[in-house]
């Protein structure tokens, strides 16, 4: 069967799902962040797929934007994790619960 839109979409879904599971299951905050990157990538893939299919470069431009945003997010996120680590000396998400009622 020739590769069609569906194939790429299924791939993207799988990657998205794996990323989602990583976010939900893992306790290490760095891995959670990496899983989020995974999800972002899958979204990018969908964008590019449809850009290819519709012949409009808009999809790719937006994928570019998403990448920029992802970069910013990673920078700030890691800075926060660093600060958190310095304070609580742990990367375990379950142990960071001071915002309790």
């Amino acid at each position: 069967m020739s590769i069609g839109v569906a194939h790429f979409l299924v791939l993207a879904s799988v990657l998205f799902g794996l990323g989602l599971l990583g976010v939900l299951i893992r306790r290490n905050v760095i891995i959670i962040l990496m899983s989020i990157e995974l999800m972002l990538n899958s979204a990018n893939m969908v964008l590019v797929t449809f850009s290819r299919y519709l012949g409009d470069t808009t999809g790719q431009v937006f994928a570019l934007f998403v990448m920029v945003i992802a970069a910013c997010e990673v920078a700030v996120g890691l800075a926060i994790i660093l600060a958190l680590f310095r304070n609580k000396d742990t990367l375990d998400v379950d142990k960071i619960n001071i915002m309790k009622w």
């Binding site: 069609g4 194939h7 979409l9 791939l11 893992r26 808009t58 994790i81 600060a83």
Partner: protein, 178 residues
């Protein structure tokens, strides 16, 4: 004839890249050592870059490698080295009821998405074969980026500025910011 050959090469490339991505992703989410996870994420990103090439988006593929694999992952690895916790997470076992439920929900979502996507393959009338398009070259992306999408482009520069400043502030040495 040429069509079927390129088609086969195309399909082969796709499947190998797909497997590479999925396997790498699996390792990322299940590895006990987060350094390992980081490195395998790089692999995944490279795979995704390959997918982009298949999707006639060479510029984006290069940017993917430069930014994601090159910059972001380097950042990750650098931070990981900085925070040498020395303590590795005792297994990615599911801890607590919430986590299990969450895993189930996540799996359900994944399945739903997959179903949705694959259902598109079956509808023959909607999705005709790939049209012939121009590849997403630098010129074409650039043309769009600086004309039609100039505003979001400028806005993103502001975002970058904000991100730089906040990251600097948050990560400073004394009384680390909140």
């Amino acid at each position: 004839m040429a069509g079927t050959v390129s088609e086969t090469i195309y399909a082969l490339s796709f499947y190998s890249l797909a497997v590479m991505c999925v396997v790498a992703a699996l390792v990322v989410i299940s590895a006990r050592n987060y350094v390992v996870s980081a490195l395998w994420l790089v692999v995944c990103f490279v795979g995704v870059a390959g997918i982009y090439v298949l999707l006639k988006a060479p510029f984006l593929a290069m940017v993917q490698i430069l930014v994601y694999a090159g910059a972001i992952m380097v950042l990750f690895v650098m931070l990981v080295m900085l925070m040498d916790a020395g303590k590795l997470e005792p297994g990615a076992r599911l801890q607590g009821v919430i986590r299990s439920l969450a895993a189930v929900a996540g799996a359900v979502i994944m399945l739903a998405l997959i179903t949705l996507s694959s259902s598109m393959a079956r509808s023959k009338t909607e999705w005709s074969p790939w049209p012939v398009v121009e590849p997403g070259t630098t010129e074409r992306i650039g043309a769009d980026l600086f004309t039609r999408y100039a505003l979001p482009f400028e806005a993103l520069t502001l975002l970058l500025l904000a991100a730089v400043v906040s990251a600097l502030y948050l990560a400073r040495r004394q009384e680390g910011g909140e």
